[in-house]
Symmetry: C2
């Protein structure tokens, strides 16, 4: 039986991604044929360390509050509880960024916000980096929006600039530290984008999900550290990578009230969108997230991040020893390497799997500009990553 | 500074709702002028009893699992964990409804699903009941969709039929037991809608959020109890009212694979939508939801629902004694009464507040067909509801 309702025809323009299923298939086949080999996965894009203890205790307490009539809480505010929004504001103040509580919208994930934000836009073209986190691309394809790519390559160290873009308004997606390339915009680099946005009337959607991996305060943790950004930038950030909340689900977005669109503000539009299509984040999870932003919480989170960063350095050192060109490895859990000797992404994948029982992610899975590049991640255990770094040394010494 | 990006112009067609803020304003003013009066709120649309103990224990355990490396869980499956989807399937089997696990999509709320579902639709008109849960209406206004109203009134006991509709494909929203009217479709009533949908190629979005309030199994708990519904109906349901999860956040939707649209299925479209714009529900919350669907969990949930239903009966009895026409009160936490003597919704609100210090919700806040009607809810405490029922007796005896 076929209904006769019309569907969103834009969905037909989405490409099916077989990246991770194809990787899984090849690894499975290899493991079946080589049961004696110990395969190490450097393709994990998810955290593996447990939640910080203060967050666990806060969530335990919140769960029990929900079990008592006197402390039970029903529908949460759609924008998030003030106790969490205040904690987020304090985090921004540590970067010398002052925001108003009404500019913070707590949500269940940066992916949800990045995906849902197109709801409030008209037919302004999107400017999306290549390589790219697929959500920016697919959510705009679903909306039938014209898409322009800002290309990353070796010459710009995978930090595209607005230089080649026609001057007109865009919805610009930026992610720094970047997934998948690990590259980080410095103040000058982000400043170029902010200036371009101000000049052209564009809007920047800045994905800061990996902000906590940035070493020190020389580089911007938030786009609002850049002059003028509050007039042209929405920032999306998450507890996923900062506090290991990928399975707990909590994030936030910042919609500065200073961003006017016609006779309204982007803040008012998003507020209306969320009040209509969202009902807030679990009280239990919000308590955990707020605890992660306490002094003790931040220190526990940073210890976990230091663990991943030590892994990243092991891999970075191995690539450096081999003279392999790469981005990331510092300020990021990701390393993005140029496959040596003109080897293709998938060919490199096979060589690394068969030769050293190591699994990574072919760069071309993240866009055309990823061809000939390869992503390694540092979310595994220290022991495995150390072993993997040794195998990489052997692998690159063999030559191509 | 104004950006030059285009916004979704449909947002300009949304009406600002001042319903609940206006109620709050009037109640505040009354309480300030009459500090000696004890105001009882019969306008609460949120649960007030704590979570079932089994759910609390399950969530406590899950929180602690997340704090240990060996049991930590990262990104959940976008469609929900199988342990919860299996529990949902078992719930449907108790209504003699057989579904496949791939047809169940766990989410953070029925509001999210009801709001986000328009993403996958083209420009087929929406058929929305009046009075109505505002999300059905506003999400379609945001999408610029033509909207046709199915009008509820005294003659159809606020159970609109497809009788007066032009025969063409619609996206039809139904909610039973209904919010705000408390009215319940029987098998014949739902059957009329299913037959209309099959005949016209329409799709029904069936909101079963209040299903657990239905007494016995004579009336349908799920639209899939109706022959043919699997060919034309999506069902949205929630743990909010069943298990008191309004603050914990968990729901699900059913997309039968048998609903074809062109050369794809609605299931495949929703799956793609969720994989792109959603990242699953918190593991902790899913464990609590699964526990609520255990035998012990269901019995605890039903005890809470019995508490609210006893309240509803107190109010229903009072309305019956006064000879007031109303729907709901059984199978529902809501009562929807006709304001006597041609009194308007807001006038009735004022009379009830000033006369008896009782607060309810003017029906016209839910649509034009709500004019002259008024909603009472049973989510307060037994003691307050008993007292309120007594005040209603006095109120109606005074006459208008």
């Amino acid at each position: 039986m076929s209904t006769k309702i019309k569907i969103n025809e834009n969905y037909k323009n989405l490409k099916q991604s077989y990246l991770f299923s194809e990787i899984a298939r090849r690894v499975r086949a290899f493991e079946e044929s080589n049961p004696e080999k110990s395969v190490i996965r450097l393709g994990i894009g998810d955290v593996t360390l447990p939640l910080p203890a203060v967050a666990v205790r806060a969530m335990e307490k919140a769960v029990n509050e929900m079990g008592e009539k006197a402390t039970f809480r029903g529908y949460p505010p759609e924008q998030g509880y003030d106790f969490l929004r205040e904690a987020i504001l304090a985090r921004y103040r540590s970067f010398n960024v002052d925001l108003d509580i009404s500019e913070i919208f707590v949500s269940d994930g940066a992916k949800s916000d990045c995906g849902n934000i197109t709801d409030i836009f008209g037919d302004t073209p999107a400017c999306v980096p290549d390589p790219v986190y697929p959500v920016y691309l697919d959510s705009n394809i679903m909306d039938g929006r014209e898409i322009v790519f800002a290309e990353g390559d070796e010459s710009n160290a995978f930090l595209p600039t607005p230089g080649g873009l026609k001057e007109r308004p865009y919805i610009i997606y930026l992610c720094s530290p970047n997934n998948p390339t690990g590259s980080l915009y410095d103040r000058a680099g982000l400043g170029e984008w902010v200036n371009f946005a101000l000049k052209t009337g564009s809007l920047i959607i800045f994905d800061a999900a990996y902000e906590a991996f940035i070493e020190g305060n020389d580089n911007p943790h938030s786009i609002y550290e850049i002059d003028g950004a509050k007039e042209c930038s929405v920032e999306v950030c998450s507890f996923s990578k900062f506090a290991g909340f990928t399975g707990a689900r909590c994030a936030w977005s910042v919609f500065p009230k200073s961003i006017k669109v016609g006779d309204t503000t982007l803040n008012a539009l998003w507020s209306r969108r969320q009040a209509t299509k969202f009902n807030g984040v679990s009280y239990i999870v919000q308590r955990g997230a707020a605890a992660a932003l306490s002094e003790k919480g931040i220190s526990e989170c940073m210890a976990n991040i230091a663990y991943y960063k030590r892994n990243a350095l092991l891999l970075a050192d191995s690539l450096s020893r081999a003279g392999v060109w790469f981005t990331g490895g510092v300020h990021s859990p990701y390393l993005w390497l140029k496959c040596p000797a003109g080897v293709g992404s998938w060919e490199f994948f096979n060589l690394l799997l068969v030769g050293e029982s190591l699994v990574g992610t072919p760069g071309e899975g993240f866009g055309a500009c990823g061809k000939g590049f390869f992503r390694l991640t540092s979310f595994g255990s220290y022991e495995n990553t150390l072993e993997a770094a040794g195998r990489l040394d052997v692998f690159f010494k063999k030559g191509f």
